[in-house]
């Protein structure tokens, strides 16, 4: 007979064994009911984003991809991107330029009201644009606007100091999001309780935790059955692993991510749908070079570093082989891509160029700033090893984002990792490369590589001013070719792992038909992609 201590011990052992058996036998949650082709109205969707918004006021808060995901359920833009990446009128009925694109006439759709009952008219749109023009968040972008005039009940005329052919493209961004007068008058309230014309109404926001939005019964496309969902509950989970677990456990129905591990895990699983970014929406993972100091002033050194970088190995090791090597800011499936003279991987050529430079100037020692996250560090260590083989000593300096950006814009760095270039139009990358935004080291310069190249400045100027597509393509081809030659940036890959991943019970991602008849742009934005929820539906409703 067992005494009490032995019985207790046997009990513990049995419990441990049962736990182990349970763990081995358990699997993921119950079978997923799949969404078909026909939208199903109703239900609440739980969706995870990695960071909360600082606020929802498009006039005073900077919108990230995550903010856009949440805010655009409530706020809507004057123009919107279609599946081809072109702008289409949205709250605007039309947006037309004069002959030289120095004046744009915006005519608004009739019959649209904000959720507080105010009418969307020319007066409020003009006040919105004027607000953007004068407030710090967007003042730099809109510096070319000379005047904004109300020319009728639904007509606003925007005059520019110089031709600006891509102006309507900017109205697809937070600059085009329109809020009513009461939000303009009370920014704190607009930031905390946004009001718009969108398909959902602001519900409850628990900062750093969740945002709930509820269906807007008076939405201006309600007669088309939109939106399908009764509501959305956004959950904020900053940890990469925890986001994937939340989706896999069935606790939420969708996540926004750019983590290659998530894409690799879910892409071949029939219970999930992975919608990856394409074309211009794909951000690029890059190493930015400070061309204004040290060895990196020398073009041959910059080209040698590019030649020493085996992009495919980085993709295989860090991105699970899922992305494509980059040689410029725009991916091959974008309309702006052209081939350039950007160096291919060639270790021998790199070794020879570095040896030649070092014979004249001594050992090259560089420091790479990178964010303190696992994949950025892994990439940095691979590059450190690759460049060592070419003869360059690289020190890795892990920093938080605030410090990294501060040093980047003031030129206090050699090399910095960055994920950027997901804007829908090349003109939107202009400030990063144009000589007009260049400042001496120590002063703030949006032109972070600190180049001042005539061909690049001219390309960006022509591309901004022309409404002729062929002329614009020629202008940006010139920019890409010159960037490929002088290598102010080492391009790693087109980060098409930026994705929306949903349970198969969710339908309609990327399937929103715009009022103009085109389909919407797919997932877009940085650091993790945004999507429109207008036409999203869910089968297993809660």
């Amino acid at each position: 007979m067992l005494n009490s201590r032995k019985r207790w011990s046997a009990g513990v052992a049995a419990a441990l064994l049962a736990g182990a058996v349970a763990l081995a036998g358990c699997s993921t949650p119950a079978d997923t009911e799949r969404a078909g082709d026909e939208p199903v109205p109703g239900g609440t969707l739980k969706f995870v984003v990695s960071a909360d918004a600082n606020g929802f006021d498009p006039q005073n808060d900077t919108f990230s991809g995550q903010t856009n995901t949440m805010a655009r359920t409530i706020l809507e833009p004057l123009t919107i991107l279609d599946a081809e990446g072109n702008w289409q009128p949205y709250l605007a009925e039309s947006v037309e330029p004069n002959d030289d694109a120095t004046e744009w006439t915006i005519v608004l759709r009739g019959g649209i009201n904000f959720s507080n009952g105010d009418v969307l008219d020319a007066d409020v749109v003009a006040k919105n644009l004027e607000g953007h023009r004068t407030k710090p968040v967007n003042a730099g972008t809109l510096a070319d606007i000379e005047s904004i005039t109300v020319a009728g009940e639904r007509t606003v005329v925007v005059s520019m100091a110089r031709p600006w052919a891509t102006f309507p493209m900017y109205l697809t961004t937070q600059i085009g999001l329109v809020v009513p007068e009461e939000s303009l008058e009370n920014p704190d309230e607009a930031s905390a309780n946004p009001i718009g014309t969108g398909p959902f109404l602001f519900g409850k926001h628990l900062r750093d935790s969740s945002l709930t939005v509820e269906k807007n019964p008076d939405y201006w496309r309600a007669d088309e059955g939109l939106p399908y969902l009764d509501g959305i509950e956004f959950r904020i989970i900053p940890d990469d692993e925890a986001r994937g677990l939340a989706l896999e456990s069935g606790n939420v129905a969708g996540i926004s991510t750019r983590d290659a591990k998530d894409v690799a895990k879910f892409k071949d699983d029939a219970d999930y749908i992975v919608t990856r970014t394409t074309g211009m929406a794909v951000p690029e993972s890059v190493y930015v070079l400070n061309t204004a100091q040290g060895a990196l002033q020398d073009e041959s050194v910059r080209r040698a570093l590019a030649a020493a970088t085996d992009r495919q190995t980085i993709i295989d090791v860090v991105r699970e082989g899922l992305t494509e090597p980059a040689s410029g800011p725009w991916s091959e499936d974008s309309p702006w891509y052209v081939e350039s003279d950007y160096p291919d991987f060639d270790l021998e050529a790199a070794q020879s160029a570095i040896a030649e430079y070092e014979a004249a100037h001594g050992q090259i020692e560089l420091t790479l700033m990178t964010l303190a996250d696992a994949s950025a560090l892994q990439t940095a260590q691979l590059v450190q090893d690759m460049w060592k083989k070419a003869g360059v000593d690289l020190t890795i300096d892990q920093l938080d984002q605030g410090t990294l950006i501060d040093r980047l814009i003031k030129g206090n760095y050699d090399i910095s990792s960055m994920v950027e270039f997901s804007a829908p139009d090349p003109d939107m990358e202009r400030l990063l490369f144009h000589g007009a935004t260049l400042a001496p080291i120590g002063e703030i310069s949006p032109n972070i590589t600190r180049i001042d190249e005539e061909l690049i400045n001219d390309g960006f100027d022509r591309g901004r001013a022309s409404i002729d597509e062929a002329e614009r393509k020629d202008a940006y081809a010139q920019v890409q070719r010159r960037l490929g030659e002088i290598v102010p940036i080492i391009w790693i890959d087109h980060l098409s792992t930026a994705s929306i991943i949903t349970s198969a019970s969710v339908g309609g991602v990327g399937q929103y038909e715009l009022p103009s008849g085109q389909m919407e742009y797919g997932p877009y934005g940085n650091p993790s992609p945004a999507l429109n929820f207008h036409a999203v539906w869910i089968v297993d409703q809660e």
Partner: protein, 313 residues
């Protein structure tokens, strides 16, 4: 008693002044600017200068600190730079969540550690004792973020016992609320169990060798009564000290755990405010964390007297 309170009050004040000043100094020394975090890469120098002025950042740091202290003395901790909301209101929203999380984790840790310590102190050479010693060492050595992800994977995903999609407030119902805090609290508790267990067990072993307990045994008192009634209470003082001291490491753990499990507490607030260079918010949060630490340790001092009659305040 009055002397004790006065001394502790003065210490409290000194700690808060030093902590808030160090927080300000730290933020001033860090590279980066709130306007960079707010405006990002592409903003013009003019736009940055305008925002700098709008946020009152063109004042010198010393006068900014003293203005902050003057307002803080009246309960106004300023306005958040990145959110534009009153810091006091935000902290009052977040503090109860973190306190609840810490409360549950301490309670859980005690519920596991105390019986385990009593049981193993009774039979120090049993195999259960050796297992407990090895387990506690493993738990102490395991970083809290690894423990958190492991638990989320096993309990949330494999077993599907709890929702791992973030925090649910009390207004979402007591069940979902407690479920959303269960894993974070267990994760934090496991790290503490080991420490509490080892501290209490070694005190218990010492107490059990005291003459009065040997006398109690010879008089025929039951083992359980000796352990739970006569040995446990005088052995609790070291555990209390550890409880007070580990509140700091618990708050540190909460900073990480709140991020992993999406809990909108004070720790998460501190991380986000630091990354955004929102020094007004950082200062407010650091002040409240400092205050919490001091108050907890003051409470521990009172508890000493309650548990050990030989101690007088």
């Amino acid at each position: 008693m009055i002397g004790f309170l006065a001394t502790r009050g003065l210490r409290l004040f000194a700690v808060l002044v030093v902590v808030s000043f160090l927080a300000q100094l730290l933020i001033e020394l860090l590279p980066g600017d709130p306007t960079t975090a707010i405006l990002g890469l592409q903003a013009s120098p003019e736009a940055r200068a305008q925002l700098h002025s709008d946020l009152g950042l063109d004042q010198d740091p010393v006068s900014r600190y003293f203005s902050w202290v003057a307002a803080a003395a009246q309960g106004d901790l300023g306005t958040s730079i990145s959110w534009g909301t009153p810091v006091t209101d935000t902290i009052l929203e977040r503090l109860p969540i973190t306190l609840e999380l810490l409360g549950w984790s301490i309670l859980l840790a005690l519920l596991i550690a105390v019986p385990l310590a009593v049981l193993t102190a009774d039979r120090p050479n049993a195999w259960t004792n050796r297992i407990a010693a090895v387990s506690s060492l493993t738990l102490i050595s395991t970083p809290v973020f690894i423990l958190g992800v492991l638990l989320a994977g096993v309990v949330g995903l494999k077993l599907g016992w709890v929702d791992v999609s973030g925090y649910v407030g009390w207004d979402g119902g007591p069940g979902p609320h407690l479920q959303s805090l269960a894993l974070p609290a267990v994760t934090l508790a496991l790290g503490q169990v080991a420490m509490y267990y080892r501290m209490l067990q070694s005190d218990l072993l010492r107490t059990l060798r005291e003459d009065y307990l040997l006398l109690a045994r010879t008089r025929g008192f039951g083992r359980q009564r000796i352990l739970w009634v006569h040995a446990l209470r005088p052995s609790l003082t070291s555990l209390l000290t550890v409880l007070g001291l580990t509140i700091g490491s618990l708050i540190g753990g909460a900073v990480i755990i709140e991020s992993i499990f999406g809990i909108p507490g004070l720790g998460r607030l501190l991380i986000n405010a630091s990354l955004a260079r929102d020094f007004v918010m950082v200062q407010g949060v650091v002040l409240v964390i400092g205050l919490t630490y001091v108050v907890v340790n003051l409470t521990v001092d009172f508890l000493y007297a309650a548990f050990d009659p030989r101690i007088r305040l």
